[in-house]
Amino acid sequence: MSSPSAQAPSPLRVAAAHALLVVACAVVLYPVLWVLKMALTPSQAFSMDPSPFPTTVSLQNFRDVLGTVDAYGEALFWRQLANSVIVALVTSALGVGLSCTAAYAMSRMRFFGREASMQAFLITQMFPGVVMLIPLYILLDTLGLLDSLLGLALVYSTTSIPFCTWNLKGYFDTIPRELEEAALMDGADRWTTFTTIVLPLARPALAVTALFSFMTAWNEFILAATLMSDERAYTLPVVLQKYVGDFSTEWGRFAAGAVLVSIPVMALFFLLQKQLVDGLTAGGVKG
């Protein structure tokens, strides 16, 4: 399984490892290729053909998705893409911003209710969303945050806070305290130590946490469709969901939309893969 040895492993082992990984990658990629095939096939039918490669290639589905216009004849896709990016970025900023101080307090300070609040954060992950939709709508209406991308981002960020806090706390735990203690001795206050010493060191965890919040917002559609009442305020997943009808689904356009929606996330994963490995602790204590 694992060989810690410094010397080169036998060629047989290398070949076996590659074979295993190639099989794993094939299993992982097969369904993804299928989505790509449906997106490139100029038909709205769901493909049942086991081959993951398209027989006829056309960009029509992509053109359809990109070319949607609103009642005023203005391009909608780019506007909705911008909405999605804004909401997801604000969600990341709020999610990380609201949770980083809490995570730091939970990692470094002893206070009454600390364990209970760590638990409480986990517990909120257990609320089934089904029961919360209508109360949430009423609440946002009362607060005047309906139909606002900020309101949507606020809701998303609160759903991502528990994971963010857990993950950041796990990472803060691994940062040696000596650095901060030295700074505190020198007369710096907590806030300064936190912002100038701890946060820069926690960069990988901040990146992962932000990515996670970003994804929470990026893929959600039920809340977005319920809370937004302007087609120009929709986020991309809502638009994507329009291709899934009561009676039938326009698979080609849906797949093309799914590909377009997935590309930015995949790009982020690709860019952040180093941080992903370093910064994902999920509350665990490493090493």
Partner: protein
């Protein structure tokens, strides 16, 4: 091409930008001389949406003082959104919806009777929109099933089921005479009505009628005679028709967009059932233009309705939007009269049965579908299947229990709060030192706590409060803990039934445990491989292996469902290539469960892999080398050196992962859909069904949600101990 509406003044956005965050407040358009606004919500897309917009544009031209604001909403979200917005005064004046929601909306006083009588519209379509004698909305268009015939295989459309059966000998090998979604109750309904059956007997909802049993037997006979393909999903039916492997298909107008342009076909009314000499009669679904009870401009809305259903606009919607419009005069227009497809659906309209529009109708689908599937699988006789279906239906539509007196509950609640306060205060007193010393920490946690308290906790408490009520036909009754008692004592079902809380709980635990085991097992194994320094292309493999994490789970669930298809799925294709027997994945619990499990494992292992990769970096290699020098085997080194060091990082990830998996609704709902017979449902998908497809029993569903929460709370208490012990040890 600029739409004429571009010239119109744009409506100012209803909400002002908050706190100067102007960037975030969308659509703050310049306000004009404030024309009257008329809001219209719909779920149309593509050409239907374009035709509606054109019709609205024509109205706008003639009414410069009125602005019609249309909003297209995904069909899945339209119902919830309307129900949330209308009572708060944020709803539209008009909503275009399938008529099956009219009953629930009228009962809840969300919609108002239409002010005119709908003269000139098809009587069956008007009938569909009536509730207690009142007309709720104008029918714009109808949808029903009809027969699609591949004319290359069958030059003349068959007029009877015997003619379809007679195709067997004449078609090329491998071509099915008929394909339709035989295990879907909506697609089975034409046979049911043709045999003289239905879901109602007089005023009563009745599924166990002898006519319905005859129809089930007939459908089973079609399958046994080899006329139909197995497990006919919508995707399969489309594929067979497009490849010339199905001579005829029963489907609706939406199918037109899925037919390959190379296929020559005609649309014909459904055939006569030869055994009884009556035509098969599909359900008629009506898209009604419905007036909100909170409409600000009912008279204007009615005028817009008259415009949209006028013959001229109906012709436009028929020609441009390909809609089977309900305006009778439209079919005399030359452009429509020559359109064979529209005429076929028009003819079918006369022989269709308007779907009942009450909530009790919504509750028939699941029992009917379960009975249908059992019969089609050959697991049960039609009569026995329908007896069970009737029992299920009666339970779903059960009237609410008598109202309970809230006083004792309020007292109990008050006492509970006082007790909680006392316990809290005592704990605070005991830890007084910590409270004082840690006072500064509260400022640090406050932002997270306040926002979560407001936007997560408060909605949950309100939602959970619903569990103390029963919802029936739009009316709420306070019932105290009755819902919980019914569920926990399994009063209505034997404890082994798939409707029982405990049976579902066992499945859910099995589901969670096996998932987490596989996620961690595969994740750790791959991470161990990927950390080897001698492995080339490590980064490449790593990126590919986290791809499932980045794809929206909605679409992967549907892809996997297709791959598990009995006759045409890729997985059975692979099994056959390996010389194995193909498996009917969704007809047995074990295989349906496995299908769900494989899908969710595909999605879930990358998270564990990445967590493990990170944790492995922190484990010094020299420990392992020392163990190797001592002669430990690879497995021993993993088991005794690496695993103990991984544990602190993995355990919290496992806790989090199991909570997510416990509530993983999408996979269950989209892959197995609970098949067979609800056996693979988990608690969260049951809660969903109680709320939305079993007579809108919101209270009961909310009680389920509270119980799910309780179960997870117990679980987290247990793991908390484990975590604490680990931190000490």
């Amino acid at each position: 091409m600029p739409s004429p509406r571009a010239r119109r003044a744009r409506a100012p956005h209803p909400r002002a930008p908050l706190l100067g965050l102007a960037l975030l407040a969308v659509g703050a358009r310049p306000a004009a001389a404030a024309p009257v606004e008329l809001k219209l919500w719909h779920a149309y897309r593509g050409q239907e949406e374009a035709a509606l917009e054109a019709a609205v544009d024509a109205w706008d031209e003639a009414h410069p003082d009125v602005v019609v604001l249309t909003l297209s909403i995904p069909p899945d979200a339209l119902k919830t959104k309307f129900e949330a917005a209308a009572p708060r005064g944020n709803g539209p004046d008009l909503v275009i919806s399938a008529h099956e929601r009219v009953g629930a909306w009228a009962d809840a006083s969300l919609i108002a009777p239409w002010p005119s009588d709908g003269a000139g519209l098809h009587p069956a379509a008007l009938e569909a929109l009536r509730r207690d004698g009142a007309l709720y909305g104008l029918p714009l268009a109808t949808k029903s099933l009809a027969l699609f015939v591949n004319t290359a295989l069958v030059p003349v459309a068959p007029r009877s089921t015997d003619e379809i059966a007679a195709l067997v000998g004449t078609l090329p090998p491998g071509v099915f005479p008929l394909a339709y979604q035989a295990t879907d109750a909506y697609f089975h309904a034409p046979w049911m009505h043709g045999f003289g059956g239905g879901v109602q007997d007089g005023d009563q909802m009745r599924l166990d009628r002898p006519e319905n049993a005859a129809a089930l037997g007939f459908a089973r006979g079609l399958l046994e005679a080899g006329l139909l393909p197995e497990e006919p999903t919508g995707a399969l039916v489309t594929q067979l028709f497009n490849e010339g492997l199905a001579a005829t298909v029963i489907n609706g107008p939406w199918f037109l967009g899925e037919i390959d342009p190379k296929v020559n076909f005609v649309v014909a009314p459904l055939p006569v059932i030869s055994a009884v000499g009556k035509p098969a009669a599909p359900y008629l679904t009506v898209e009604g233009l419905i007036l909100s009870a909170h409409a600000a401009q009912p008279a204007l809305a009615a005028a817009l309705g008259a415009h949209l259903t006028s013959p001229a606009e109906a012709v436009r919607r028929a020609v441009q939007g390909r809609q089977t419009v309900a305006t009778l005069a439209a079919y005399d227009d030359p452009a429509v009269a020559q359109d064979a497809v529209l005429q076929a659906f028009r003819t079918q309209m006369d022989a269709a049965v308007p779907m009942p529009n009450g909530v009790e109708m919504g509750a028939t689908w699941e029992p009917s579908a379960r009975a249908l599937r059992r019969v089609m699988r050959g697991a049960e006789s039609p009569e026995a299947a329908l007896v069970l279906a009737q029992k299920e239906l009666e339970f779903f539509n059960k009237p609410p229990p008598p109202a309970a007196d809230p006083t004792p509950w309020l007292v109990l609640l008050g006492l509970g709060l006082v007790a909680a306060l006392i316990v809290g205060l005592r704990a605070a007193r005991r830890d007084r030192a910590l409270l004082v010393a840690g006072a500064g920490a509260y400022a640090w946690v406050a932002p997270a706590f306040l926002s979560m308290g407001l936007l997560v906790l408060a909605p949950f408490v309100v939602g959970a409060g619903v569990s103390l009520f029963a919802h029936h036909n739009g009316a709420w009754t306070f019932v105290g803990l009755r819902n919980f008692i019914d569920i926990l004592l399994s009063r209505d079902w034997p404890i082994t039934s798939s409707f029982s809380f405990y049976a579902t709980l066992v499945v859910t635990i099995l589901w969670t445990a096996s998932n987490v085991l596989l996620h961690v097992g595969i994740g750790v194994a791959l991470a161990m491989l990927l950390r080897e320094p001698w492995l080339k292309l490590r980064g490449f493999y790593r990126v590919l292996l986290i791809v499932p994490w980045a794809v929206p789970n909605y679409i992967t669930a549907l892809i996997w469902k297709g791959m598990f298809h009995r006759q045409f799925g890729a997985i059975n294709g692979l099994l056959v290539a390996l010389g194995l027997e193909p498996v009917s994945w969704f007809s047995r619990f074990s295989t349906a469960f496995a299908a769900n499990l494989v899908t969710n494992t595909w999605m879930g292992f990358p998270f564990m892999m990445v967590v493990t990769l990170g944790a492995l970096q922190a484990i010094p290699r020299d420990l392992e080398q020392a163990a190797e020098v001592d002669g430990a085997s690879a497995w021993q080194r993993f088991r005794h050196v690496i695993l103990p060091l991984l544990q602190p990082a993995l355990l919290p990830a496992v806790v989090l992962g199991s909570v997510w998996t416990f509530n993983m609704f999408n996979i269950i709902y989209l892959v197995s859909g609970g098949e067979p017979d609800g056996g693979t449902e988990i608690l969260i998908s049951e809660a969903y069904r109680w709320a939305f497809s079993r007579g809108n029993r919101y209270g009961y569903a909310s009680a389920y949600a509270v119980l799910i929460f309780g179960v997870l709370l117990l679980y987290s208490r247990a793991t908390d101990r484990l975590l604490a012990r680990q931190q000490v040890g």
